[in-house]
Amino acid sequence: MTMIFGVPLAVFMGQLMLGLINGAFYALLSLGLAVIFGLLKIINFAHGAMYMLGAFTTLLGMNYLGINYWAALIITPLIVGLFGMLIERVLLRRIAHLDHLYGLLLTFGLALIFEGTLVNFFGVSGARYPTPEALQGGFKLGFMFLPTYRAWVLGAALVVCLFTWYMIERTRLGAYLRAGTENPALMQAFGVNVPLLITLTYGFGVALAAFAGVLAAPLYPVSPTMGSNLLIVVFAVVVIGGMGSIIGAVLTGLGMGLIEGLTKVYYPEAASTVIFVVMILVLLIRPAGLFGKEA
């Protein structure tokens, strides 16, 4: 058997595959954060809660309204996105002129409220969301058994990431967005409704988190604390990629998934810390992050 650093090739390949899938999750979540920070300069600590609300909306939608998984993929991000817009309109806008820290505190408080409320009703054990029938089973790849659902997560996440990148960097709407955050007064003078643009952007970032929540529902127990467990890692990914860099968030997300996956084979005890070690190294060498522009 071929060995790579003392690990059979098959196991090694399997771990790379899993790392890539986890990385796609990180990419999707950090992408939303990066869009919100890059365009609105809001450090959105409610992002994990939005991801959790996405999973919960999917679960409750199925249990009470009979909305199936495929419909939830569209409906959930819409609902949670609208909810996000409401938050932006009613709360975040009022403190937009203050220091970024106020936004951080506000969103953190909101996250605690959402989490606490749901814990009160649903407890913390979480509930299971069945894997949609068409995505059950798996492929025998030779080196591993790959569940169909995980392959789908990888594909869906990558498509959404690419779409977002294309929209912001390559379309007219994206250009407006970037210009609107660079110089809102000038954009307003050109007749562009900047406040609306900002509301939509926040809603879109939140919808991305909710979309990740839908993807996660059949994978992990749907529980009120699922978001806060992930949020800190995702923030580290954004910092490594460079705050606000969209392509940075996607590539770093995938890369960190791979690094974490390999750590789980070679030194599992460090699996939960390796991303932070990378973050420290990157901050020491390139304080603006791998893809960030030096201020």
Partner: protein, 406 residues
């Protein structure tokens, strides 16, 4: 004359009763029996004790009549947030300033060990219902606490032995990388090897871990017949879910959960957990007596009780009975008297409190039903065998407790 005699007799009777009552009250500190309930009310261990445990405690008090020998019972409760510091300082305040007579609940082992130290220092009384660590009545034993429901010893022992006997003689261990996981790993390794099995490999994962796919893949690659889960709570749930997604059981391997609670199985569903062997201190559907209590609990909480909830009811009732019988809530006297009476209620069968503070009672080896076998939402276990009280727990001859003469 008759009239006078009658009045006289009744006055004496009244005087005597009053005297008796005040005599009893003299031994009840603050004219109240005060119970403090400390548990994780909002974090990862909330569902196995938490608000349900508090409700079970209140049920015990209500069923007892709300007072002991005419003295009211008061309940304090606090969320320890799984922090040893918060737990210890709360208990200190309860004992110093509120004269709490008995501390109940006590879930995360780390919190319990810190809180029990305070109780010992203050000569109070604590009954541990939620914690797993068997060290609570082994190297950390004290005359001031009792461990009621279960501990790591029977959980590891019975499950691992049963699995090896059924032919699962090579193991891969998935261990939570902290004190509890290490202790569990050690216990299981001993049992497996004694029963003639081998530990092929093990991996220690960080606590808590969200994604177990990588470890499950390693377990699949190891070729072991059994994958033992030396972790608890959300980690166990995640590991079992992931194993089911990767077809671990379908490809011929078996899972052995070592600390699994009813609420975990309910959360994961039978599709993912069917066939899992585990040990429990009690199961709501095991007989009429248990069902009767469980249904009353269900009406109040909307979920079926687990062994910790039932244990809290059982321990509180035994405590109140003892206080009533003794006419005193003095912790030292009560602790001593509690050990003198055997415990037999819907929860504990053949129960008694040993000198190390371990309440030994019958434990049960159960198998998780398949979706086809289950008739309703909470119909989750099939009881395979009863492990007699005297065999289930660590024998006193192996004890390191300072209260045991070995």
């Amino acid at each position: 004359m008759t009239f006078i005699r009658k009045t006289l007799t009744s006055s004496i009777a009244i005087a005597a009763t009053t005297l008796m009552a005040s005599g009893a009250q003299a031994d009840m500190s603050d004219n109240e029996v005060r119970i403090g309930y400390l548990a994780d009310m909002s974090g990862s261990y909330r569902d196995l004790a938490g608000p349900g445990g508090l409700e079970a405690l209140k049920m015990a008090i209500e069923d007892f009549g709300g007072s002991v020998n005419g003295v009211p019972i008061e309940v304090f409760s606090a969320d320890d947030r799984n922090s040893a510091d918060v737990g210890a300082s709360t208990v200190r305040e309860w004992l110093d300033e509120r004269n709490v007579d008995m501390v109940s609940g006590l879930v995360a082992s780390s919190v319990s060990l810190a809180a029990l130290k305070v109780v010992e220092e203050k000569n109070g009384l604590a009954i541990v219902s939620g914690s797993a660590a068997s060290s609570i009545t082994n190297e950390h034993c004290a005359p001031t606490h009792i461990h009621w429901v279960y501990d790591t010893y029977p959980m590891a022992n019975a499950t691992a032995k049963a699995v090896v006997e059924q032919g699962g003689d090579s193991w891969f261990l998935l261990t939570a990388d902290y004190a509890f996981g290490h202790a569990m790993e050690k216990d299981v390794t001993e049992v497996v090897e004694e029963s003639g099995g081998t530990i092929v490999d093990s991996v220690r994962h960080p606590f808590p871990t969200n994604d177990f796919s990588s470890y499950i893949l390693q377990a699949q690659g190891s070729g072991a017949k059994v994958v033992g889960l030396a972790n608890a709570g959300a980690d166990t749930v995640n590991a079992i879910n992931t194993a089911s997604q990767f077809g671990l059981v379908q490809s011929g391997q078996q899972l052995a959960g070592l600390i699994v609670f009813l609420n975990d199985i309910y959360a994961m569903g039978l599709d993912a957990t069917q066939g899992l062997l585990l040990t429990t201190g009690w199961y709501w559907n095991m007989d009429d007596e248990s069902r009767e209590w469980a249904e009353r609990y269900y009406e109040r909480m909307g979920s079926m009780p687990g062994m910790v909830h039932a244990g809290i009811y059982s321990s509180t009732t035994h405590y109140l009975n003892t206080v009533a019988e003794l006419g005193s809530d003095d912790p030292v006297a009560v602790r001593k008297a509690m050990a003198e009476n055997p415990i037999n209620d819907f929860f504990a069968r053949n129960g008694r409190i040993r000198e190390d503070g371990r309440m030994v009672h019958d434990m049960y080896l159960v198998k998780v039903k398949s979706p086809e076998e289950s008739t309703h939402d909470w119909d989750l276990y099939e009881v395979l065998s009863t492990i007699p009280a005297e065999e289930a727990f660590r024998p006193l001859s192996e004890s390191e407790c300072k209260l045991v003469n070995n």
